[in-house]
Amino acid sequence: TVGAVAVDGLGNVAAATSTGGINGKMPGRVSDTSQIGSGSYADNNSGAVSTTGHGETILKFCLAHSICKDMENGKSARLATKESVEKMTRRLNNTAGAITVSKIGEVGISFSSKRMAWAYVKGSELHFGIEQGQHEVECVEDE
């Protein structure tokens, strides 16, 4: 699965997610990625989320919507993402990851899986990582 979230200078947000599904799935299996509120969710009142991981688990937990509601109730993008991913993994024993931007430009990145590749650009900095706790920064090359 791949996904992207964005917020512009005025606080408008959007989310997008695309996947080939899960390896060895039954023909006709629909994933969480196509379900609004599980694979993607975006609301200018809170932020935008894209998720990835064990699809059936994300679907049952409505992970993207859960993170947006936590932000609407005042949590930061970082905390809302981390707590929802952990709560879902605890409850359903399968792993996943999520990326979040809030309407005020905060970033949330969390995954209970072994690895999740992520990257973001803010100003002139390019941030990226793939291991738990990894966070590297480079300058974005000028055009």
């Binding site: 699965t1 791949v2 996904g3 992207a4 979230v5 964005a6 512009d8 200078g9 408008n12 947000v13 959007a14 997008a16 997610t17 695309s18 996947t19 080939g20 599904g21 390896n23 060895g24 799935k25 039954m26 023909p27 006709g28 299996r29 994933s31 990625t33 196509s34 379900q35 609004i36 694979g39 993607s40 975006a42 932020g47 990835t52 991981g53 064990h54 699809g55 994300i58 792993t95 996943a96 990326i99 931007v101 005020i104 430009g105 990145i109 995954f111 899986s113 072994k114 690895r115 999740m116 590749a117 992520w118 990257a119 973001y120 650009v121 803010k122 100003g123 390019l126 990226f128 055009e143």
Partner: protein, 173 residues
Amino acid sequence: MDPVVLVHGGAGDITDDRVSGKIKGVKLAAVEGYKALKNGGSVLDAVESAVRLMEDDEYFNAGYGSVLNLNGDVEMDASIMLGSDLNAGAISITKDISHPISLARLVMEKTPHVILSAEGAQKFAESKGIPILEPGALVTDFAKKALEDYKQHGGQLTEIGGIIKPKNAGEVG
């Protein structure tokens, strides 16, 4: 406020030999999305262009490089959503198109629905002039090998009424 474009390239037990390709791909995608914003595009343009770039990259489980179902076919899902009016579009179980995320955006912008699936999504894609690829065009050697490994070690999910819980080798999501 500074705009932000954040991307992910999938979560799971990604093997060591795929780490550098994934990091390279997500960095390119984040920069691509940010460029779209900087050049006056909307947040929708930004997320669509970032995802399209990763759909073309065989290091990612989307578009070219998608994992396979039990028949060895690629069947793809995608969704897109805009925060200002909660408008959304999605497709599921679609085959033989390069950019499922762009089809999802067309569903949002050109139909009264949110999700189109399978044959209906396929027909809609054709009606909008999206090129339909030759069957198998999106299948990579890596995906074929992952499916073979799964069949040998993962058990068969096609049993009706008795679902065997296999350990899914490789990446999920």
